[in-house]
């Protein structure tokens, strides 16, 4: 390695460490519950009535509204990143947001300080085949660094009493959640743990932030999760892999504002446009597969799909349907850790927190001990697959013999339209054998807890030709 590539590498350690930060949507639910209220059965999920909203207004709010109202002074952001990559600009951003990268939103605080904060798109947008796609779960979001490093890195450039105070507001919250949001693999998302950590620091009745946790904080290590695409929400009756998110979806997802919303009033201000945001999410169309599709083969695949897959994943095309079914852990056989930790009682204090919050009663945290069989619209773009992103391609999902035990995404990312997933390299050994921490963070090691690539063997018994045909069909969804 030359000296300068080394140095670039060192910088990249931090630069590529796009720790996104914060917060999130949680999982909560109603009060002081009998166990039954905080759990759901596997099997079909019933629909819950949703508040109507205006998708157009929702897109505008999602892209421009300050639902995350604390951040770093904009001046500091500009100093550190003076030029915005044009590929990170998004049409429809207005005012002070127009020239910010899509994952940041500007807000002027009561003391007149303009701050920028990470918005939902930090986790819920990404580039695929040259397009920036709103609603794509970011497969490369990087939470492998200690978020506290960002606090000091940004703080060195902050000065002036008002700016320092605005920065401290944000810094205190980041320091509060940092111990619980660090994943050990790039692409894995700690959002669930993040929301528990925020709840641990807030009084549910007043939303007031407490520097010391008021509840036992969550475990430090988040369960590894890949971020699902938003365009499935139009069909789903409950939110999240375990269907924990019941009731008013708009409220549930906007708990995001928990990072900074320090009062019930602020929560309610955000809630006023939450239904519009939900309506927008449900209106998102998945991106079309941008390469050629063999339509004759796809038609063969459709028939095979309808026989082998549709009972769980629904039907598409002229006669669409979606059964909203949660499949029990022992039946689906994918990594059980996420659904188990949600239902073993170890997180019930947070479900209770939700119920005691001012949204209590309208939203309910009720996970099932299993995983939802998701709609498969735009599935080509949702790699890596399964709730824990343990399987890099659809080809490997349908043929378990091809699932790599140890693997790493190609760098830079490159989509493979044949295998249908981001190109990857299969490795001989796991994280323990990595030469350095940066490489270690890129390795998906399916022998680690939470990372298993087992289960969902529904393609295994099919012939190679049948699998080929189903893959071709999946390109059309």
């Amino acid at each position: 390695m030359t000296r300068s590539t080394r140095l670039m590498g060192m910088a990249a350690l931090v630069l590529a460490g796009g720790v996104a930060l914060w917060f999130l949507w949680p999982a909560p639910q109603p009060p002081a519950p009998q166990a039954g209220q905080n759990r759901s059965d596997t099997g079909p999920v019933a629909a819950a009535e949703q508040r109507p909203g205006d998708p157009q207004a929702g897109r505008d709010a999602l892209l421009n509204a300050p639902y995350v109202s604390c951040g770093i002074p904009r001046e500091v952001w500009t100093r550190l990143a003076p030029d915005t990559d044009p590929d990170n600009l998004l049409p429809g951003r207005t005012g002070r947001n127009a020239d910010l990268p899509y994952f940041l939103t500007s807000h002027v605080t009561e003391t007149g300080v303009e701050v920028v904060a990470n918005n939902c798109l930090t986790c819920h947008a990404g580039h695929i085949s040259g397009e920036l796609v709103v609603g794509l779960g970011n497969p490369f979001v990087d939470f492998t660094q200690d978020a506290r490093d960002l606090v000091t890195q940004s703080g060195r450039f902050v000065r002036g009493a008002d700016h320092v105070a605005a920065w401290q507001h944000w810094a205190d919250r980041i320091e509060g959640i940092a111990p619980y949001i660090r994943t050990d693999t790039v692409g894995m998302n700690p959002a669930t743990n993040l929301s528990w950590a925020l709840m641990a620091h807030r009084d549910p009745a007043t939303m007031e932030w407490s520097p010391d946790p008021l509840l036992d904080p969550p475990p430090e290590t988040p369960v590894p999760l890949r971020t699902p695409p938003w365009w499935w929400m139009g069909k789903k009756n409950a939110m999240f892999y375990t269907t924990i998110g019941r009731g008013d979806h708009a409220r549930y997802m906007l708990f995001a504002s928990l990072l900074c919303a320090d009062s019930v009033e602020e929560l309610h201000e955000i809630d006023a446009y939450a239904a519009d945001i939900r309506a927008f999410l449900e209106s998102i169309e998945p991106p079309a597969f941008p390469w050629e599709v063999d339509t004759a083969l796809a038609a063969e695949g459709e028939a095979l799909f309808n026989t082998n897959c549709a009972s769980c994943h629904g039907t598409y095309g002229d006669d669409p349907g979606y059964p909203n079914r949660v499949i029990a852990l022992d039946r689906i056989g994918t990594d059980p850790m996420y659904a188990q930790t949600m239902t073993d009682g170890s997180l019930d204090r947070f479900y209770d927190w939700v119920d005691r919050s001012s949204h209590g009663g309208t939203v309910r945290a009720a996970p099932a001990e299993g995983y939802i069989a998701p709609p498969l619209d735009g599935i080509w773009a949702a790699a890596p697959f399964l709730h824990n992103g343990s399987v890099p391609s659809l080809e490997a999902l349908l043929n378990p013999r091809l699932r790599p035990r140890y693997w790493m995404h190609a760098d830079p990312p490159d989509y493979d339209p044949e295998a249908m997933g981001w190109r990857f390299e299969e490795l001989d050994a796991g994280k323990d054998a990595a030469p350095d921490r940066a490489t270690q963070a890129r390795i998906h090691d399916t022998t680690r807890p939470g990372y298993a690539n087992t289960g969902h063997g529904y393609g295994e018994a099919l012939s190679a030709d049948a699998r080929r045909a189903i893959l071709e069909y999946l390109k059309t969804l």
């Binding site: 060192m10 931090v14 990404g126 490093d149 606090v151 000091t152 890195q153 990312p413």
Partner: protein, 365 residues
């Protein structure tokens, strides 16, 4: 394809950060708004900042980069007299842009376009600590920086091709050193970082310390750094301040550590930096395994300074202690900066060396 999303973009890169900690500048009398800080917070007029795609070009890059709003040069030397007594020498020069640069060829005017601020510190256990700070506006023959050298009044560092020459001092104590790089320059050229720079982390140094009539031969090693762009300026009430250790071990290792802490005392200190081993291999400090614990304080100049550190990283365990306790300087931005010694073990074998430790006054009791 952009994989870096989010505030991680704030990461400056371990190398760029290494340059932090050197620049002393604006007056810091908190709570009143600091006029210098305000000035620096805005983009300096007519200073477009850094062009992308920079690569190090010496000697031209030794000089000033007028497009950059701020710039600093810093030399630290860890020396020894014939009796083995250690001597620390620092020469620091900062440039702050105040106005657009003059048009080339225009009649010279009296408008201050760049301000130079510098200091010299001599830490001599026999004679004590001598330090002086100076301010001047850019003016030929008085204060300036180009590929040939740096100047602030009578202080100069000349970048002659065969050897650099430092001449500086305070009162009747003067230091003259010739310096030659013992290792190639390390460029901080991370794309997207808010500043550029380079470091010669190891130079051989020899020369004389003159004190009144006496002349003492000295020799040792030196560390030179130069950075420009949007630099974090200590002093003036920044939310986060940083302390810096520049360490040269006898086994050929150079180590740069930046320890950053919130000025309000909250949160947790973080570490960044790099190490260069005897073979010249550069590695970023792994903040997971590197540790700094404060082992000694010195109470003086109205503060409690964390002057003794215990440093642990990759098989290296060092105790860093001040050669002289009282090395606080009442500059515009007060700091403690001076000579420290390091002793310890690497993989069981004894190692030792000397370092410059610079502590920010902000946030200390």
């Amino acid at each position: 394809m952009r994989t870096a999303v989010g505030l991680g973009v704030l990461g400056l890169g371990a190398v760029a950060l290494a340059f932090w900690g050197l620049m002393s500048a604006p007056p810091s009398d908190a709570p009143a708004p600091d006029p210098m800080a305000g000035l620096l917070a805005q983009e300096a007029p007519g200073r477009p900042g850094l062009a992308p795609g920079w690569s190090l070009d010496l000697p031209a890059d030794h000089g000033a980069h007028p497009d950059a709003p701020s710039e600093l040069w810093h030399l630290s030397a860890h020396l020894e007299g014939p009796d083995g007594v250690p001597l620390g020498v620092q020469f620091n020069l900062a440039r702050l842009a105040l106005a657009a640069p003059a048009d080339p060829g225009a009649t010279p005017d009296w408008m201050a376009r760049d301000l130079f601020r510098g200091h010299v510190i001599l830490a001599d256990p026999a004679r004590g600590v001598m330090a002086e700070e100076r301010l001047a506006r850019a003016m030929a023959g008085v204060a300036g920086a180009d590929g040939d050298g740096l100047r602030l009044d009578g202080w100069s560092l000349r970048f002659a091709p065969e050897a650099w020459v430092l001449e500086a001092g305070t009162g009747d104590t003067q230091i003259a050193l010739t310096l030659t790089p013992a290792r190639p320059a390390l460029a901080a050229d991370a794309e997207g970082a808010p500043f550029h720079g380079y470091a010669f982390t190891r130079m051989t140094a020899q020369g004389h310390l003159r004190n009144g009539g006496a002349e003492l031969p000295v020799r040792g090693t030196a560390w030179f750094e130069h950075a420009w762009g949007a630099l974090p300026i200590p002093g003036g009430g920044a939310a986060v301040v940083s302390d810096r250790l520049q360490l040269q071990l006898d086994d050929g290792t150079d180590l740069s550590l930046v320890r950053s802490r919130r000025a309000d005392g909250g949160g947790r200190a973080t570490l960044e930096g790099f190490a260069i081993d005897a073979a010249g291999d550069v590695r970023a400090i792994d903040p997971e395994t590197a540790q700094v614990a404060v082992t000694q304080h010195w109470d003086g100049a109205g503060r409690r300074w964390p002057v003794g550190w215990s440093v642990t990283l990759d098989g290296l365990a060092l105790e860093v202690t001040p050669v002289i306790d009282a090395q606080a300087h009442d500059f515009m931005a007060p700091l403690w900066s001076g000579l420290v010694r390091a002793e310890g073990r690497r993989d069981g074998q004894p190692v030792q060396g000397h370092a410059t430790l610079t502590l920010d006054a902000e946030g200390l009791e």
